[in-house]
Symmetry: C2
Subunit: 207 residues, 2 copies
DNA sequence: CGTCAATGGTAACGCCTATTACCGGAGGCC
DNA sequence: GGCCTCCGGTAATAGGCGTTACCATTGACG
């Protein structure tokens, strides 16, 4: 049956992507060799070249598929009661979880260095991930503004401030490998603190 | 005279560091070849190996020296009147300028991917840069807390929130090559907005 | 002006990498 | 069951890399 062959092939594809992602994320794009990937995945190089064409193709597949898996929930999930505090908290927790996940940390690391080599890839990564998140949050804030709960002149900038506040030095430290991702407890505290400041800051009259 | 030889040598050293930094920042560590550096700097490979020992030595020299030049002003400068708004604004502006400078963007890009290869280098980079900045700001906040101007339980976390807010998506976009560094005007606005939110957020009673 | 030490340039070495040519074997199809 | 197509593994190719051996040159010093 063709189907059997297809599923077997999909399994292979998955295994390859998995192994390749691990090596790419550990070593970076340039320092990763096809041999190293095969060593981890089993099989042979021919397998990779049949499935992805070349190294660039494999890398692109990883980034787009991982980004899809990780980031789409962030967008789709309709976090939207009318309680702004709850909404922000949920938003913060979800984005923190996503940003701190090993996979996204890995992608982030490579995206940063390979921005010159894969500009399109990086652009779509940003737009589907952090960019869309910010836009979505800006909409939420806009709605709150129209309800008179907050004062703001540029909701997109405000959204940026908020996500920046939740990311802050934690993300930097994790990305630099200086500390492990935060525990649930730490994440909860960081988000709560950020939400509190943000809400207070935005609620009162601003110039 | 030995002095003449020394200064000529220092000039060479500077030129090499400059050229090497450009290539490293554009291409990343692994993808940068010694030949490419020489092509840009003139001279010959022997020059590099005499001066820096090997590729790692050259790279380490770049990171430590650039970081020193760029980050030490951030710490030394004693921004400290008793006007918290002015202090925060100055702090925000300085750190924004530093973080958005092409050199620091370049270092940041590489530090992120080469964290596994050069853990010590990355650690000292963080501690001399973002880490120390946060600690310094935390001290300022602590002082304000003791004067009763703000309420806080963890000033270091608060400091992290503030710098995160000023960096926010701008830094991410610049690092990913999706937009140029902000103009003075944009930087001013972003910092002013962050300061406003932060001050309001922190001033009122927090749980 | 001759000697000597050190430095800069060229070319080689050995290794590693992405990519492909080739071949053996394992199914699908009649 | 026999043929045929496709796929996976091995080994070869061609190029690039960091590093070093070797030689020419230069500038200081007596």
């Amino acid at each position: 049956m063709a189907a059997a062959r297809t599923t077997r092939r999909n399994g292979r594809r998955e295994a390859l992507l998995q192994a390749a992602a691990e090596v790419f994320f550990e070593q970076g794009y340039a320092a990763t060799s096809i041999d190293a990937i095969i060593e981890r995945a089993g099989g042979s190089k021919r397998n990779i070249y049949n499935e992805f064409g070349n190294k660039e193709g494999l890398f692109s597949a990883i980034v787009t598929e991982s980004a899809d898996n990780l980031l789409s929930p962030l967008v789709i999930e309709e976090i939207e009661g009318h309680d702004l505090r709850a909404t922000l908290t949920a938003f913060g927790r979800h984005s923190m979880d996503a940003y701190m996940s090993p996979t996204l940390i890995g992608i982030y690391r490579i995206a940063v260095t390979e921005a010159n080599r894969f500009p399109d890839l990086v652009k779509s990564f940003y737009e589907q991930g952090p960019g869309r998140t910010a836009v979505r949050l800006a909409e939420v804030l806009e709605a709150a503004r129209e309800r008179g709960e907050i004062q703001a002149d540029d909701c997109l900038r405000l959204a940026g401030h908020f996500v920046g506040m939740t990311r802050d030095n934690l993300h930097l430290q994790v990305v630099l490998g200086l500390r492990p991702p935060p525990s649930d407890e730490e994440a909860r505290e960081a988000v709560a603190s950020a939400v509190e400041i943000f809400l207070n800051g935005v609620r009162r009259s601003r110039k």
